[in-house]
Amino acid sequence: MRCRQETDDPRETEALGARLARALAPGDVVLVAGELGAGKTTFVRGACRALGVSVPVTSPTFTIGQRYPTGGPLAVSHLDLFRVADLAAEEPDLLGDYLRADTIAFVEWPDGEAEIAAFARIAARVRIEHAGGNRRIVEIE
């Protein structure tokens, strides 16, 4: 799914996340880039809801990663690599627990594509930018 779309509020950003989620399969990872407050977690929340996650979806800023159950065999991982300055300098297992064949993953602050690609198929790159107030430009490729 490729698109470039302007959203008027967080609900529309979530809806766009949900649309992308329907095109994903287990083993996929989505890289979500954007400045602080751009709405990365909002986008991921929309995708998670569409995949059957019912628990709260918040940025795993302190823990690096979270795994959410979906009620089925699929799990959803949500990572925030803001504090990881260089993935190549970290233990490989940091990603291994989250990027798995039975999991769809979303990675915020995705510096280090090579390390991520060693664990999962990069299915989409999302870039979210402020466009004034609650408006955002969301680019998916």
Partner: protein
């Protein structure tokens, strides 16, 4: 006192076993350039190896000391979680040691160098083209004294400027000093040659600092990341 000390803040896994009246024992794993760190798989085997070499067991340990960083995220979590678990399981105190402080203490051995110096700066590669740095006067180091330049993350160019502004003739040790040598040598800084052991974090120096630092409840020892998480930055910038 029998102390098991280790540090996993840098790519190295550095372990030491120190006993009163005995020479310290050291074991370490330094990944080759381009290889990933092996903290999770190497730390405990290296500790077991040292206990075996000393002919003692876990029950003989009286203190655990652990490097609290700054350093890599997984490295610090592996080291501190392991240290807390060991100290709690044995019911012994845990001492947190600044990785920069230990590195600077090791730098005191540069005293044999020809050029006199008035400060030691520990400089670790923080990635994103930054260094983690803290600086001590040589007299304060062994006493476990406070740094005159507190721990911070900054660009190597900014560090070189600070060295000039403070009028220092320091020795710089650590992988960050080696990585950014060309920038940092613009100041009066002396940087030992790249292969020098002075640039390695060694847990033997953690043991030396344990004498000057208190041991306490394992739950009170936390990693020092120096960089804030994104949510924290957003929260602070949202304040009126």
């Amino acid at each position: 006192m029998t102390v098991l000390a280790f540090d996993t803040a840098t790519p190295a896994t550095a372990v030491a076993l120190c006993r009163s009246g005995e020479p310290p024992l050291e074991a370490r794993d330094d990944p080759a350039p381009g290889r990933r760190p092996g903290h999770a798989t190497r730390l405990l085997p290296l500790a077991v190896d040292l206990l075996r070499r000393a002919g003692i067991g876990w029950a003989d340990l009286e203190r655990i000391a652990v490097g609290t960083g700054p350093g890599t995220f997984t490295g610090l979590r592996v080291g501190i979680a392991t240290a807390r678990a060991l100290a709690r399981a044995r019911g012994i105190p845990l001492t947190g040691v600044s990785t920069l402080h230990s590195l600077a203490l090791g730098g005191l051995a540069a005293e044999a160098a020809s050029q006199p110096f008035d400060a030691i700066l520990a400089v670790l590669d923080a990635r994103r083209r930054e260094v983690f740095v803290a600086g001590w006067r040589p007299s304060a180091l062994e006493r476990g004294g406070e740094p005159f330049l507190s721990a911070r993350a900054l660009r190597p160019e900014a560090l070189a400027e600070q060295v000039v502004e403070l009028g220092l003739s320091p020795v710089l040790v650590g992988n960050g000093a080696v990585e950014f040598r060309s920038v940092l040598e613009r100041s009066e800084a002396l940087i030992p040659e790249g292969g020098s052991p002075l640039h390695q974090v060694s847990a033997i120096h953690h043991c030396r600092l344990v004498r000057a630092l208190p041991g306490g409840d394992p739950a009170d020892i936390h990693p020092e990341y120096l960089r804030l998480p994104d949510a924290e930055i957003a929260r602070r910038s949202a304040r009126p």
